[in-house]
Subunit: 592 residues, 2 copies
């Protein structure tokens, strides 16, 4: 500690909001170099390398082979798969001195595909799974929480290549197993959630989420074992409703109904229902969003949802991937005079709208109308009448209006039914620590990766892709393993196993500490020796707690009585042991 | 070998010119992904990691501490030190989604300086030496020889921070020692050469060169121990010559003298000297070059050198650093009518030229005239008369013309005197495998890195910077360790120590080979097992020789007689040992 390149901080950095970020900076593990771009200090690098080693061991154990690709890649292969465009502003793009286009790779599907194409040609060469632990780049719109969402980060990415779908299933399950082993070894809880594939393409995909309140992902679980990222949750399809008894629609003046609640109140007062009071679930809310497609075109879409539910923009965006989605602006809305803000109703939109019929075919993108599946065919609604201060009720989906299709748009709620019938859902937040994809043949097709099958016929290879954000995993571990005083690393990744603290000014203390450190290192136990002479015991204890080494040995006052103290950082317990026996006692303690 | 991701090639890749590049590709160590951008395949990555481990151990042994910086860095600090511009087109620059300027770092002086500034504040914190092993970027105009000159490469860069010049000397010598240990451990010959600092700035700098015919660097050595990169060689200053007996200049018609040789012939025929024939060394050649300065301005310079020596553009460029230098184009020359191509003489250029006097001060860059130090004050010359088909002789430097300064411009020749008087120089080529710099206070000043000295006074820190191109070092090792059949790795970095070859189809062969492999691995000896069943013995032997593992154990026909064969790849020798004793014999052999 007297020479280690570290300065612990007593105060939280001003730009940090989550505990792991605060503590990793305060304890001297990382340092911000630019927005979303961090430097690893000696302690941080030690933990990162230990994590990488565990990931590497488990990948190798499943037969994956390690390679190392460049981060700087040419545009062409990404152009062929469409990702050069699809990634939009998330991709760092640059030109070299000859004006050729390059990118800093966010993931490496394209070049792994090309490498296997370059090296392999026969079904006998397959299956093969390759991986790398390498620096990745994403120009995040909102980098946050330190290395949890960074713009330059360390990732383990693996890619499997198989001849058959069954082969892909096996390769996928091998990686899934490796991931479970990795997270188990570092002691991080995880939930495997069904996920959507996003810009990656492909069919099946699952996320490994570490459940954690500050996580950016929301996921659901049922008691029956269903688990999914909310973006991937599908709504159980409901049978159409009989609307034969529903009266014809009627327009009502609603001058004082700017909100859903006030609208319900107005109807309960002027047009009360027979059987029960109207409520928010009887209203149909029509929300206008703008989808920006990868080619830059912007499309206005109207999404209809029951008024008792909020639109979940992340789910909408996942459903419209690879488009990026935001709420339409007043200026965009103004281009469509038939859309009266606050009073939009489906009578003038959707496939039967006058606009759709009047416009010459293909002249401009029609204003698509999509309904969340909670709006069931045959159901009747209170909704806007497309005139200021007017609403309509008894408006029946399938009788009085139509839609262009459905979209999973509303927020998933605790208590909603799991789509597999396994019971009601509970909702949690989590940090994505791993993601595995069955890509299928998308990349191999786009880049021409075929091998000859056993009949000599060229066959397109099927692929999987498997990522772990190693630097994010480190932050997740910090998030899971800390208290108010600092970090508490699990031994598997701790920068050292034992921190030796010296207190007082007695030379014998420092001599004993150094001897003990040498002995422990010789026994294969990593030691961080706090040999600072002019630093108070209080500061040393505080640094020990902040840095988060699992065990401390305190050499100090007790030495006169022939004892040193072993502390357990996590339990907060301590025990005195005879100094002559300290080496054996510490070894025994840390190996338990 | 039956599952290893490798395909050896019998033919040289078409884009490879040097042996190491050919063999690293053919043996399946690296693969080109884009110009100057390579992927490391499993065998290559193994060697790279072993090299990195050796570098790391020796850096740690000298007390340097490892950190890890991002490759993607913001422009500002590089702007402050001037390197954002000085690097010119060699720097990969890009913008993020907010249009902020970034670069892919070629080296990290700036951000290491800022990190120390951020963390340290007192003289008591110093000295400290930090390093990283990290991916670097240079947009080389001519990437070549595989990973020897690549655009993305792995580098170990270290930076020392000291309060005093003596401290910097100590830190510098520690890194120099570490470098010697590294190159000694991997068995690579090296010469430590004085070097110029180039864009890095600073005072003292030395290069570690691996002597090698395909190297891009030229260096000189004297028997007395002088060694320098030719760019750093200085010419011994010569005493002025007495010109009192030299007649006044005389212009001579020289219609048939387009070359130096023909010019000498003409003078020997029409104006023979009294004492000896004229020769090329009597002629003064004036060469016009264009220096492009970092800010983009282009300056025409005239350089005068003895006609028996060529101009060495790399030395000129080093002397004019950070400008980039090329021969002036005919178009550029045409802007100066007084310069008659082929007949340029110093009478109309230099400080006394009419142009210099006529132009208003500061209006345009003067046409500077610089002389190589081989042009000694008082010496007389045959040179151009600034008219087509005319030359002048008896033109005396200091009497008939002046210069704006001197420049080390001519090629260094075998037999030239070492500047330290240690004898004549011999010339060799080499590959730069390391470079150490005393940067001094340039970066600390530019970025405000000061610490309080023991009187509480803010003092600017002095720095050193120390680089090893780890991926280039790997290629240099391949260049030094190969024969016609393939690579021959030194054990310290070999991807495996023993390759076990199986020949024939006998199951007993494969069983024995697997048992032996397991035994060796258990004994800590890395094994590459060639367990391919459908591959001929010839192919296996060829692959062994190509891949370059130092030892082979051949399990085959001999097994019936109870023997296996141990081969030494480098010596080409082989010896039979009893199979029952093979484990011990192999261990003994490889440990010798």
């Amino acid at each position: 500690m007297s020479t280690l390149f570290v300065r612990t901080l007593r105060d939280d950095p001003s730009d940090a909001e989550v505990d792991s970020h605060k503590l990793l900076v305060r304890a001297g593990y990382i340092r911000r170099t630019a927005p979303g771009i961090y430097t690893w200090l000696p302690l941080g690098l030690l933990v990162l390398r230990r994590l990488e080693a565990i990931v590497r061991e488990e990948m190798n154990a499943e037969g994956a082979q390690e390679v190392l690709f460049p981060a700087l890649l040419p545009r062409e292969p990404y152009e062929k798969t469409g990702r050069w465009e699809e990634y939009g502003p998330n991709l760092f793009r640059l030109k070299d001195r000859k004006e050729a286009d390059y990118l800093l790779a966010p993931t490496h599907e394209e070049v792994f595909t090309l490498l296997v194409k370059d090296m392999y040609s026969s079904y006998k060469d397959l299956p093969v799974t390759l991986y790398q632990i390498q620096t990745k780049y994403r120009d995040e719109a909102r980098p946050r929480a330190g290395v949890i969402r960074a713009r330059e980060f360390v990732m383990k990415d693996a890619y499997s290549f198989d001849l058959t779908d069954e082969g892909l299933d096996r390769s996928y399950m091998a990686m899934r197993r490796a991931y479970e082993n990795i997270f188990r070894r570092v002691g991080l809880p995880y939930v495997i959630c069904s996920a959507v594939s996003g810009a990656m393409g492909g069919s099946r995909s699952e996320e490994f989420l570490f459940p954690c309140a500050i996580g950016e992902d929301t996921f659901v679980q049922s008691a029956g074992g269903y688990a999914a990222n909310t973006e991937a949750v599908t709504t159980l399809p409901a049978a159409p409703v009989d609307f034969s008894a529903v009266p014809l629609p009627e327009v009502v003046d609603t001058p004082d109904a700017p909100t859903i609640d006030s609208l319900v109140d107005v109807f309960n007062s002027v047009r009360p229902a027979n059987d029960r009071p109207w409520n928010a679930a009887d209203t149909l809310k029509n929300v206008v969003v703008t989808a920006t497609h990868p080619d830059g075109t912007r499309e206005l879409l109207i999404i209809g949802v029951p008024g008792d539910r909020e639109v979940d923009m992340k789910r909408v965006e996942a459903a419209l991937s690879p488009a990026q989605v935001e709420m339409a602006t007043p200026e965009e809305l103004a281009e469509y005079p038939e859309l009266v803000p606050g009073y939009i109703g489906p009578q003038v939109i959707g496939p039967q709208s006058p606009r759709r019929k009047d416009l010459p075919e293909g002249e401009r993108m029609p204003l698509r109308y999509l309904l969340d599946p909670h709006v069931v065919r045959g159901s009747a609604w209170i909704t806007g009448a497309n005139k200021k201060n007017q609403h309509v009720f008894h408006l029946v989906y399938g009788r009085d209006f139509e839609a262009d299709g459905t979209i999973e748009a509303v927020e998933v709620r605790s208590g909603d039914e799991a789509p597999d019938g396994s019971g009601p859902l509970s909702i949690s937040r989590g940090i994505e620590i791993g993601h595995i994809f069955q890509l299928g043949r998308k990349y191999a097709k786009a880049l021409g990766l075929t091998v000859l099958d056993n009949n000599g016929k060229a066959t397109v290879v099927t692929m999987g892709s498997y990522g772990i954000g190693v630097s994010r995993l480190l932050a997740a571990l910090a998030e899971h393993n800390h208290d108010d005083a600092g970090l508490i690393w699990p031994r598997a990744v701790a920068p050292a196993t034992v921190q030796i603290l010296t207190t007082g000014k007695d030379d014998a203390v420092f001599d004993t500490a150094e001897r003990l450190a040498a002995g422990l290192e010789e026994a294969g136990i990593d030691v961080l020796l706090d040999d600072r002479r002019k630093v108070s015991a209080g500061v040393k204890f505080a640094d020990f707690e902040l840095i988060g080494v699992p065990y401390a040995v305190v050499v100090g006052r007790g030495l006169k009585r022939g004892v040193v103290e072993i502390r357990n950082r996590r339990e907060g317990t301590s025990v005195e042991v005879p100094v002559d026996n300290a080496l054996a006692e510490v070894s025994r303690t840390v190996d338990n």
